[in-house]
């Protein structure tokens, strides 16, 4: 599916293993993508290590505590019409984040089609879904704090539950909040024609999209390891 990459001088680059060796041994540009995209990928790689450190330390404290670990299914349950539904809010937050990833993917596609209006509105929709995600997280934090969960202890079980929870979801929520601001700034520049005047190919929309999809990707891991395990 990948189209053959061509350098500025019109040289067609080899694919696969031969292309890999060529790219790294050519003594010039190794990544044949816009520099912003390569840098965003490298930033996301470093972010991967930060989130991995959090999740691995969570595994470590959960495995080493002798106290019972609070059951996330009960702690994050919600009562709807007298029936307790496990993990309800978390499930809603998961589906909201997936929906926002879908609208972002469409925004990137519309950007490359030079459809300014659709790109703008799809990015605004993505940001709105992201903001509602952060709002629900604030609700979740408030609920847990009211129930007595603190970073140094909680009434349900191992003290490490609170520190892991606030650290991991707090850092992820901060990423979502930053992403909402980032998306709104880029969306506004798409609307005003800033990138058009600069002669950009709307790659910036794809780069912003990479960040947003990464936030969704991290949530997939948090959902699996923190909420479901």
């Amino acid at each position: 599916m990948s189209e053959a990459a061509v350098t500025g001088s019109g040289e067609v680059l080899a694919e696969g293993g031969k292309g890999f060796v060529q790219d790294f041994s050519a003594d010039r540009q190794a990544f044949h993508v816009p520099w912003g995209k390569a840098m965003m990928w490298i930033f996301l790689l470093s972010d991967t290590f930060i989130f991995s450190c959090f999740l691995v330390s969570y595994m470590k404290v959960r495995m080493s505590t002798t106290d019972p670990w609070p059951n996330p299914s009960e702690v994050f349950g919600l009562e709807v019409a007298g029936v307790s539904v496990p993990l309800l809010l978390i499930a809603i937050m998961t589906f909201i984040l997936i929906t926002s990833s879908g609208t972002m993917a469409l925004a990137v596609n519309m950007g490359y089609r030079k459809d300014k209006k659709k790109t703008f509105w799809l990015m605004v929709a993505t940001a709105a879904l992201g903001a509602s995600f952060v709002g629900m997280q604030a609700f979740e934090w408030t609920k847990l704090i009211m129930e007595g969960v603190r970073p140094w202890g909680n009434p349900f079980g191992a003290a490490q539950f609170g520190s892991s929870f606030f650290m991991i979801t707090g850092f992820h929520g901060m990423h979502v909040s930053a992403g909402v601001i980032y998306l709104l700034v880029v969306a506004n520049r798409v609307r005003t024609g800033f990138y058009e005047r600069r002669g950009d190919n709307y790659e910036i929309v794809e780069i912003a999209g990479l960040y947003w999809h990464f936030v969704d990707l991290v949530w997939v891991f948090i959902f699996a390891f923190f909420y479901l395990w």
């Binding site: 691995v56 879908g102 990137v108 349900f156």
Partner: protein, 116 residues
């Protein structure tokens, strides 16, 4: 510029990926109703990895990038497995030390969340 056209793909790919993510997340949520055990844990991890691959290769377009970028970004995270292995050994050691010196947990839950 290498690929002046950028990443342009038919919209249907995104729709299918979107639906797949919804279905897989639905299955993920359903694992919460299963008993703890190897079946549940392996399902959680399998569904998680399927969703992660879908997001990385389709939504983030990694599947269409050149191998130089693919390897530079996707190989380093593999080494996190070493950290997981080391920390799992460390955690077992800490747990055994705690049992040895402090004995079994005397923690009594003050309250469980009320949702009934």
């Amino acid at each position: 510029m290498a690929s002046a056209e950028g990443q342009q793909h038919p919209l249907t790919i995104y729709w299918y990926m979107w639906i797949a993510l919804f279905v897989l997340s639905g299955f993920s949520y359903a694992t919460d109703f299963m008993d703890q055990g190897y079946l549940r844990w392996s399902l959680i991890v399998t569904l998680m990895l399927l969703k992660a691959c879908g997001i990385i290769f389709i939504f983030m377009h990694m599947g269409w990038e050149r191998r130089a970028l693919k390897l530079a970004i996707l190989v380093p995270p593999v080494f996190i497995c070493v950290l997981i292995w080391l920390m799992a050994i460390e955690a077992d050691h800490t747990w055994l030390t705690r049992i040895e010196f402090f004995g079994e947990s005397t923690f009594v839950p003050e309250a469980m969340p009320h949702h009934d």
